[in-house]
């Protein structure tokens, strides 16, 4: 394998992994607070169309990312209001949010599907990334570095900060947290909004980092893979990083197989396209065979908070 091909593969893997990683880190924080939001895919689509439209009309990528995050927060508040304030069923509400996001994004993007935008350029000056080796380190857009920083940030927040401790307490034992004076609903609202912001940014990665246009359902189930990855990583940020890159590798294997011209290139394209989803199932199976996987889940995950009043 030539160096150029290897570098090309690394760059594609990084691109494919970034949105999954950002969305999954958001969902990890949400789940740590005891809430299961299955609306990630829908919020990502809303983030994707928002980022596309802002870029299309203003050309300002960073503004697009900010507005996408805000749109993600707004959509997550629908979920938050229904499940936290009205204690609606979290599974059903999350599904409803995904259906809503799919329809809403398609409606908002009507008539824009063939219009190109420009991708977000690299963060560092081109001279720094001129050599192929340096390109692997310094050749990416800000979204990629943001994802890495987010891994460390989420880890630090959950493990080292006081607010993170409260959030984990709320997710592990909501009644105890409530009885010593913490606002369970308030903490969960904050977590859900953070998850919404990250899903919005993850959605923004699609038009700004991967394919510079809008297409209906362009997130293609990546939001669901992000939800699965949180289980795979047993709610640990650094394992999430490894998992997201593993998936990025699976998704781009087709390129390698085609380039190699070996026996792998005989595999039909449809099987390659199905690979990330099959891999998710396999990974979920492997993880459940290991014993600590389910014991690490936040104890209150998915259960509504119902204090006896």
């Amino acid at each position: 394998m030539s160096t150029d091909l290897l570098i090309a593969i690394i760059v594609t893997v990084v691109g494919a992994s970034t949105p999954i990683l950002i969305a999954a880190l958001g969902e990890l924080v949400v789940e740590k607070s005891g809430v299961l939001n299955l609306g990630v895919e829908g919020m990502m689509l809303i983030g994707a169309i928002t980022a596309f439209l802002v870029t299309f009309f203003t050309g300002n990528h960073y503004l697009a990312i900010l507005v996408a995050a805000a749109a993600g927060v707004a959509s997550s508040l629908i979920f938050g209001f229904l499940t936290l304030s009205l204690s609606a069923n979290q599974t059903a509400t999350g599904l409803a949010l995904t259906i809503f996001g799919t329809g809403f994004s398609a409606l908002a993007g009507q008539g824009y599907s063939a219009r190109p935008v420009t991708l977000l350029g690299p963060l560092f000056p081109a001279e720094l990334a001129s050599h192929p080796i340096w390109r692997v380190l310094f050749g990416y857009s800000a979204l990629v570095y943001f994802a890495f920083a987010l891994v460390i940030g989420v880890w630090w927040f959950l493990k080292r900060s006081r607010a993170g401790l409260i959030l984990r307490a709320v997710g592990e034992n909501d009644l105890s947290a409530h009885s010593i004076g913490y606002s369970v609903i308030g903490v969960r609202y904050m977590a859900v909004m953070f998850g919404g912001a990250m899903a919005g940014i993850a959605g923004a990665c699609f038009p700004l980092l991967l394919t510079p246009q809008w297409a209906e359902r362009m997130t293609g189930g990546r939001g669901w893979i992000a939800v699965a990855l949180v289980v795979f990583a047993s709610w640990k940020p650094f394992r999430l990083l490894a998992g997201a890159y593993l998936f990025g590798l699976v998704m781009t294997m087709e390129l390698y197989a085609k380039a190699s011209g070996g026996p792998l290139s005989a595999i039909p394209a449809e099987l390659w396209a199905a690979m990330p989803y099959l891999a998710t199932v396999v990974v979920l199976v492997l993880i459940s065979i290991r014993r600590d996987a389910s014991t690490n889940a936040p104890a209150c995950l998915g259960k509504p908070f119902l204090p006896a009043n």
Binding site: L38, I78, L82, L86, S87, A88, N89, T91, A92, T93, L95, A96, L97, I99, F100, T102, G103, F104, A106, L107, Q110, E216, G221, W224, V227, A228, V231, P268, E270, L271, A273, A274, Y277, L278, T280, V281, L284, V285, S288, I289, S294
Partner: protein, 360 residues
């Protein structure tokens, strides 16, 4: 100052349980009209075309039946599974595999004739859907793998299976390169039951499925088991109902019904397998099941309401140029309002004055 407080009802309110779906539909029409107007669409026109015209235009009634049939069949299966707290959200995949299994029979018997071909296709479709549903059931009962994620991931896989099959092994040799199978032979097509319309045998089948499911769920031990395991898992275990058995039954029944819908669609409206076969009936049936209050008879209502929005969405597309995707937004709004209304089933809102609060 006035304050409101939620008070848990001793028993869930029957009036609210059956009233909230209707209120949810009405609220969706009102809020939808306002919201769509705010974002620059013809909101009132959209609501009129989507919710009213399908009723007033009698020519569209046949479309309602044809759209409602698969939604009701899949929705009935999902309502049984969700009752038991088993979250099969991969009905779309089971629908696709059911359609593929029926297609396989139709293509294998292409040169043959006989009354048995169509029933065999339907049986194959049900078996295919049940088998595809058995995968998440097996993984959940044996290894504790979350069934939401596996059933959904398998849906994406099944769609790729269609693409592969119609592109290569099942491609119509006379199809001028189009990725689709040949049109099924006459004995493999679902008959029409009303001459001059598009109403096919799937419509009465949907009603029969709902009635049988209602009878089974309310009158049999099976139905009792599904309801008890969902509502009170501990009591169910104490009473000797196995949770694993329930998961298996829920997936096999909901998978078989989704597969049945797939077989009826491919032999009816589609008449061949095409890449556009996955039409999201499996996902939309989730809304149908909830609108129907997870009750097989209610699912008929839910299926009709959603069918109205589909047919109305198509009308709005041609009459006022509204995108088809608006339909999905209205459907999701309905589900949001319904879920919000669930609170009123379990709680009542009491007005309290601060003094009364202090005394209490």
């Amino acid at each position: 100052m006035m304050q409101f407080r939620l008070e848990k009802r001793r028993e869930p309110s029957k009036a609210m349980l059956y009233g909230t779906p209707i209120v949810a539909v009405l609220l969706t029409m009102i809020v939808g009209a306002i919201l769509f107007s705010l974002i620059g669409f013809d909101g009132v026109g959209a609501v009129r075309e989507i919710f009213i015209t399908p009723f007033t235009n009698t020519y569209k009634w046949q479309d309602l039946g044809v759209k409602a049939a698969p939604l009701i069949i899949i929705g009935v299966g999902l309502s049984i599974a969700y009752r038991a707290n088993v979250w099969n959200i991969g009905a779309e995949g089971q629908y696709v595999v059911g359609g593929l299994a029926a297609t396989g029979v139709a293509l294998a018997t292409y040169q043959m004739t006989g009354w048995w071909i169509l029933p065999l296709m339907i049986l194959a479709g049900m078996a295919g859907g049940a088998l595809y549903g058995a995968i998440p059931a097996l993984l959940r009962t044996r290894l504790g793998v979350n069934e939401i994620l596996t059933s959904l991931m398998l849906t994406y896989v099944s769609v790729q299976a269609i693409y592969y099959l119609v592109r290569a092994p099942w491609k119509d040799p006379m199809g001028m390169g189009f990725p689709q199978t040949r049109r099924f032979a006459a004995d493999a097509l679902l008959p029409n039951i009303l001459p001059g319309t598009i109403v096919h045998a799937g419509v009465p089948i949907a009603i029969i499925v709902a009635l049988v499911a209602w009878f089974v769920m309310s009158r049999s031990v099976f139905g009792y088991q599904m309801r008890v395991v969902g509502a009170a898992p501990h009591a169910a275990r104490y009473g000797g109902f196995s949770e694993n058995r329930t998961i298996w039954l829920a997936f096999l029944v909901s998978g078989a019904l989704a597969g049945l819908a797939g077989a009826l669609e491919v032999s009816g409206p589609f008449q061949r397998m095409v890449p556009g076969f996955p039409t999201n009936y499996g996902f939309t049936a989730i809304i149908v099941a909830f609108l129907g209050r997870l009750d097989p008879l209610g699912v008929i209502f839910g299926g009709l309401v959603i069918a109205v929005t589909f047919v109305g969405g198509e009308i709005a597309q041609t009459s006022i140029g509204l995108s088809n995707s608006a339909t999905g937004v209205f459907q999701a709004m309905m589900l949001f309002f319904l879920l919000a209304g669930d609170l009123l089933v379990r709680y009542r809102i009491r007005r309290v004055t601060p003094q009364a609060e202090a005394r209490a």
